[in-house]
Structures are given as structure tokens and as C-alpha cells.
């Protein structure tokens, strides 16, 4: 089926068109751009929610409960769950669905697993486009993006999600861990999951103290909150939904264009970097001196920095002509 037929299907809410389009944007770099450009004007209606946090804190189980709770309130939810690709085989084991069995097949909930395919920021290259596809379908009130199990610096989600939720669990570290930069800074809502464990209260306290120091920082008026949840005991989920909706209302009430502009700028820069990377590497490999330079680096006759400069200089000259 050609891309235009699929896009027409997407706008009618056809599930096969939706899911095929996501595959195309994952697999085919050139068609991805074409699709993204055509659907972009139709995006911006779904609330995009980012769920991030270390491996094993219960992100997928929480997404399961969250989607279920939201769905009960009549909302349609799209979910994109990202897991890592193998650096050796390029294959992946996408296991988030195991925790989402409760919501598998429920009307109004869509789940798509996605492998990172070498991207390092916690998402796949195609994640943003896949969100846009779900958004543009007009079917989903919210799109939940679950990142790979993230460490301290996978902050790519902040340029994509309107509300960022950092999920933690008891026993991950002390107050100093909570004060570190990186993922700790980007959350609008902190969730202490597995709150049925005895150490949970301590983790909540650490986080709240950390937020006390911060006060109102870069969040433009939003004070990050801490919510305790337990997916197994099904507690705290309703409070989490309330906090998400409060944040959504807060964003909607913002008169300042600043936040939107900041996000648009990040999107532009991301896209630009990808384009420059592709273009630069394509040109580098086409350069007649490329293979020669590689050999020289091996023989230690030249260092990689000098070699890169040579190619760059050549490229600049070419583009001026």
C-alpha cells in the first residue's frame, strides 16, 4: 500500500494504517520524513506523557495501571514502550507487554513496542514520529511514552513529552542521589512506586527535601510533586491521574508562548542534528581521501581530529561551490 493511502486511513482512525505507518517510519528513513511532514499539521492534540526511570522500578506495570485508570474515565490511550536493542546482534527483546497484559485488547488502548536501534537518549529515533502518528490519528487523548530503563542522563524525553514522570522505587540511594543533575531535574511528577515496601516513606522524604531546595526552578511556575504508588496493591494511581491532569491544566493555562517555543526549538535542533549527521557522514564516505585517511590513522601518521578537519574543509569548499 502506498503512503498516501495509509495516511488517509490514519485520519479515518484505521488501526492497520496506523500500525503500518509506524513500521515505515521505523524502517525507512526517507519515507519517514515524507510521512512526518504530511501529518505534522494534524498533531498537537494528544497529551504526550513521558515515563522514565531506572530499570526494574516498575515503569511498565505503572503504565498498565495508569492506562487502565484513564481508560475507565473514557480516555483513549496510545502507548509506545521503548526497550534497548542489542549492541551485538541488533536484535531486541521487547518485554513491556508482559506487564501490560491487563490492558491488552481493551478498546481505546493501543500498545506499540519499539527497539532503540542504537539510539542512546532513552528513546528510538522513530519515537517522536510514532507519537505524531498516534496524535494525528485523532483517536488518542493521550500518548504515553515509556523510555528504556534510564540511568542519570537519558533526558531526551523532555524534548518530546509535555509531562515528564520519573518513576523511582525504594532503596535506590540516598538524598545525594536525589540531588544529582540529569534525569532528576526533568521530572514534573516524581513517582515512588512499590510504595508497599517499608523503605518507601524514606524515599518520598528524600525527594521532598530535594524539591524544597529547588523551589521554583526552570519549570516556569510548576512545583514538581511526589506521588506514592503501588502497582501490585493498585494504590495511588488515582492520585497520579489527578496530578497529571493538574499539570496538563497548568500547561493549558500558560499564556506565555515560551514553553511551546522552547519545545519547538528543541525539536528543530534534534531534527537538524540528525540531518547534519547523515549528510556529513554521507559526504565523508564519498570523499576520495576517506579510505586513505583511515589507513593513515591506523599507521598513526595522522590523528582522527586532523583527519576529520581535512574532510570537513573539503566539504565546506564543496558546499560553497
Amino acid at each position: 500500500m502506498d503512503v498516501q493511502t495509509l495516511i488517509d486511513g490514519l485520519f479515518k482512525g484505521d488501526i492497520i494504517s496506523t500500525t503500518r505507518l509506524i513500521s515505515i517510519i521505523e524502517n525507512d528513513f526517507l519515507k519517514a520524513e515524507e510521512i512526518s511532514r504530511r501529518i505534522y499539521p494534524h498533531t498537537g492534540n494528544a497529551h504526550v506523557l513521558g515515563i522514565t526511570g531506572p530499570p526494574g522500578v516498575g515503569k511498565s506495570s505503572l503504565v498498565n495501571k495508569l492506562a487502565l485508570e484513564w481508560n475507565k474515565k473514557g480516555k483513549n490511550i496510545g502507548i509506545i514502550a521503548v526497550d534497548p536493542s542489542s549492541p551485538y546482534s541488533g536484535g531486541a527483546l521487547l518485554g513491556d507487554r508482559i506487564r501490560m497484559r491487563e490492558i491488552t485488547g481493551i478498546k481505546g488502548i493501543f500498545i506499540r513496542s519499539m527497539a532503540t536501534r542504537g539510539s542512546l537518549g532513552g528513546l528510538a529515533r522513530a519515537t517522536r514520529d510514532a507519537i505524531n502518528i498516534l496524535d494525528a490519528s485523532g483517536v488518542y487523548d493521550a500518548v504515553i511514552v515509556e523510555t528504556v530503563g534510564a540511568g542519570q542522563s537519558e533526558v531526551q524525553i523532555m524534548s518530546i513529552a509535555k509531562t515528564v514522570i520519573l518513576v523511582l522505587s525504594p532503596g535506590l540511594g540516598d538524598e545525594i542521589q536525589a540531588m544529582k543533575a540529569g534525569t532528576m531535574e526533568i521530572a514534573d511528577i516524581f513517582v515512588v512506586n512499590k510504595s508497599d515496601k517499608p523503605e518507601a516513606l524514606e524515599t518520598v522524604n528524600d525527594l521532598e527535601r530535594m524539591l524544597d531546595y529547588e523551589g521554583l526552578n526552570e519549570k516556569a511556575g510548576w512545583q514538581p510533586v511526589v506521588v506514592s504508588t503501588s502497582s501490585t496493591m493498585n494504590t495511588g494511581i488515582d492520585e497520579l491521574v489527578t496530578k497529571i491532569e493538574e499539570h496538563q491544566a497548568f500547561l493549558a493555562g500558560m499564556t506565555s508562548e515560551k514553553l511551546h517555543e522552547k519545545r519547538a526549538a528543541m525539536e528543530l535542533i534534534d531534527t537538524l542534528i540528525t540531518k547534519i549527521e547523515n549528510e556529513a557522514i554521507k559526504k565523508a564516505k564519498e570523499s576520495p581521501v576517506y579510505n586513505e585517511l583511515v589507513k593513515k590513522i591506523v599507521e598513526k601518521k595522522i590523528d582522527p581530529y586532523q583527519a576529520a578537519d581535512i574532510i570537513l574543509k573539503e566539504y565546506m569548499q564543496l558546499s560553497r561551490q
Binding site: 492497520i16 509506524i22 531486541a92 507487554r97 506499540r112
Partner: protein
């Protein structure tokens, strides 16, 4: 793909398709050691494997296969209910107009039932003791060529 070669890959493989397999345990069957071994083998063969876990209904499996746009469905079944459950999966697939997805089965299936299952849209049956590489190669050779470009 090596992480270090990410950029190179973006350029060299503007089209980068990986075979996507949905592995599921249909029906009331709580033993998934075999399914996990298969998931691992397919992963190591460079495929993207979605494992959907235990106790899936045929409706849930077909639903997941559509949402994931899977090229292959691998069903693991040891419970003895294969004559009922497996044809239900393939029937639901064709009702949804999905004709290009390869459906393979692993587990305990008596030889007497093989013909019946093949007549009902199951492409291959892998019994106990099947070398992992046979399953991998079968999928590689028989997955729809249109689906993987």
C-alpha cells in the same frame, strides 16, 4: 548494529528493516521456559522480539500482532488445547484481513495433529529438541518477502 557505528548505519542503511516476531503463550499454560529460550535465540539472530507473556486469549494475540505490526507470530503451547486455540488465532487473523503474517508453533504437539494444524494456517511446528538455529532459519526463509521489503 554496533552502538559506535550508529551514525554510519543511519547513512548506509536508510532502509533498516528487522524481522519482528510476537511470541505468545495462548490459553491456560503457565510454563514459558521454552518460549523465553526462543525469544533469546531470535533476539541473538538480530530479530526484534515482543514477548507478550502468559495466558493470552486468541483475541489478545491477534490484537497485539496488529498493534506491533509483527511479521511473525510464534505461539508456544504445552497445554493440549492446540486443536482449539491455534485455529482460532489463524481464523481471527484472516477475519481481520491479515494474510501475510507467518504463524509458527512450538511446544508439545502430537504428530497426529500436525496435518490438521497445517490445514488451519500454521506454517511450521517445532517440537521438543528442535535445534534453535532451525527455528531461526525457518523464520528467515519463510517470512513474507513483501513485508520485509
Amino acid at each position: 548494529m554496533e552502538f559506535g557505528e550508529r551514525n554510519a548505519c543511519l547513512h548506509e542503511e536508510l532502509i533498516m528493516k528487522r524481522i519482528k516476531v510476537l511470541v505468545a503463550k495462548p490459553g491456560l499454560d503457565g510454563h514459558d521456559r521454552g518460549a523465553k529460550v526462543i525469544c533469546r535465540a531470535l533476539r541473538d539472530a538480530g530479530m526484534e522480539v515482543v514477548y507478550s507473556g502468559l495466558e493470552q486469549t486468541p483475541e489478545q494475540i491477534v490484537n497485539a500482532a496488529i498493534q506491533e505490526d509483527a511479521d511473525v507470530i510464534g505461539l508456544s503451547i504445552l497445554s493440549g488445547a492446540h486443536r482449539v486455540i491455534l485455529p482460532t488465532v489463524t481464523k481471527l487473523l484472516s477475519e481481520k484481513g491479515i494474510t501475510d503474517v507467518l504463524v509458527v508453533v512450538g511446544g508439545i504437539i502430537p504428530t497426529d495433529d500436525h496435518l490438521f494444524l497445517k490445514q488451519h494456517g500454521i506454517s511450521a511446528i517445532f517440537g521438543p529438541g528442535t535445534p534453535l538455529k532451525n527455528a531461526v532459519e525457518y523464520i528467515r526463509e519463510n517470512v513474507s518477502k513483501e513485508r520485509i521489503h
